[in-house]
């Protein structure tokens, strides 16, 4: 009988996924080379191609893992209402800034059939958030409900662009502020 895959196969794959995500996010997915990503991970380029079929497959795994985690976290927080959701999302982005950034500006470079399952994850997030908004502020027509839901995502997704750890409000402090802001804002629309 042949030997199977190594016991630490998944860990090494995970290391490459994490290292490449950081490298891709820092340099921009298109501009970042596989040679550079390999160096960042401390392995040869050929080894990455042992674990992944292509640069696109690697990106897909990064985004799929990230979005799956995010959906799981958010589904667990549905019981805590809109403020709980906002807190959960911002907390989940911690240690995942790179993956989050990639999701926002590299997902579109994947071929449509690879995008589809990732977009399905995103839709699930939007649906959960939309339900929480509708529960907090009933009676909005569909167009306005969607607009307000996306407004909340704008707030959350923008956070990584301006926040610098150790400066200004902490993540948790901002989560509280954002929850207050959204809660009050919903009364005005």
């Amino acid at each position: 009988m042949p030997r199977g895959i190594a016991r630490d196969h998944d860990e090494k794959r995970g290391l490459i996924r994490k290292g490449a995500a950081a490298y891709f996010a820092r340099h921009g997915y298109d501009r970042a080379s596989m040679t550079g990503a390999a160096r960042e991970c401390g392995v040869s380029k050929a080894l990455i191609y042992h674990y992944y079929d292509s640069k696109e497959a690697l990106l897909f795994d990064i985004l799929d893992t990230h979005l799956s985690d995010l959906v799981a976290v958010v589904e667990d927080a549905t019981g805590e209402g809109l403020p709980g959701l906002i807190r959960a999302v911002l907390a989940a982005y911690e240690d995942a800034d790179a993956e989050h950034k990639l999701q926002l500006d590299a997902l579109g470079t994947l071929p449509p059939e690879m995008q589809a399952p990732l977009i399905a994850h995103q839709r699930r997030l939007v649906a959960i958030m939309s339900d929480a908004v509708a529960a907090t502020r009933p009676g909005l027509d569909p167009d306005r409900l969607r607009a307000v839901t996306m407004t909340v995502f704008g707030i959350l997704n923008w956070f990584y662009m301006w926040h610098r750890p150790g400066r200004g409000l902490s993540r948790a402090e901002y989560a509280a502020l954002a929850a207050d802001f959204v809660g009050a804002g919903l009364k005005g629309v």
Copy 2:
């Protein structure tokens, strides 16, 4: 005496700037080739290099023009308070979605010395918005003022990501909703 530059020099440069911006935004700056941009503009690649020194110089001109316009528009709207500012920014993004998208995800690819003047424009925008927020909601400490200001920018900058012309709320309708949302939200922080 030699002949000077053509009378329509600036117009042609502007056409290249606009065409390239659309092409860059559609395909992503890094992924988009100068050959493709030239085809989009209906000129040869060599002609673009007659008007611009490099791909980076072209991107710089796109962003500098866009941000200068934006600052001008916003400075004109300072008298109309925070709702007027929100309306003005969203209106200014019309017909400039491409430039806006490029600003968000390609500015960072420029070398620092080219980024500097663009970031100065951005800071001016932030300062104006911050003043409007402070006027609407006095008494916020600096950290929270900054956080709320960035929250507003998150709302505005995210708009192009989810809005599809002709579907859902119009730009103007969303501007009104966003102004209401922010106005009410400020009372909750």
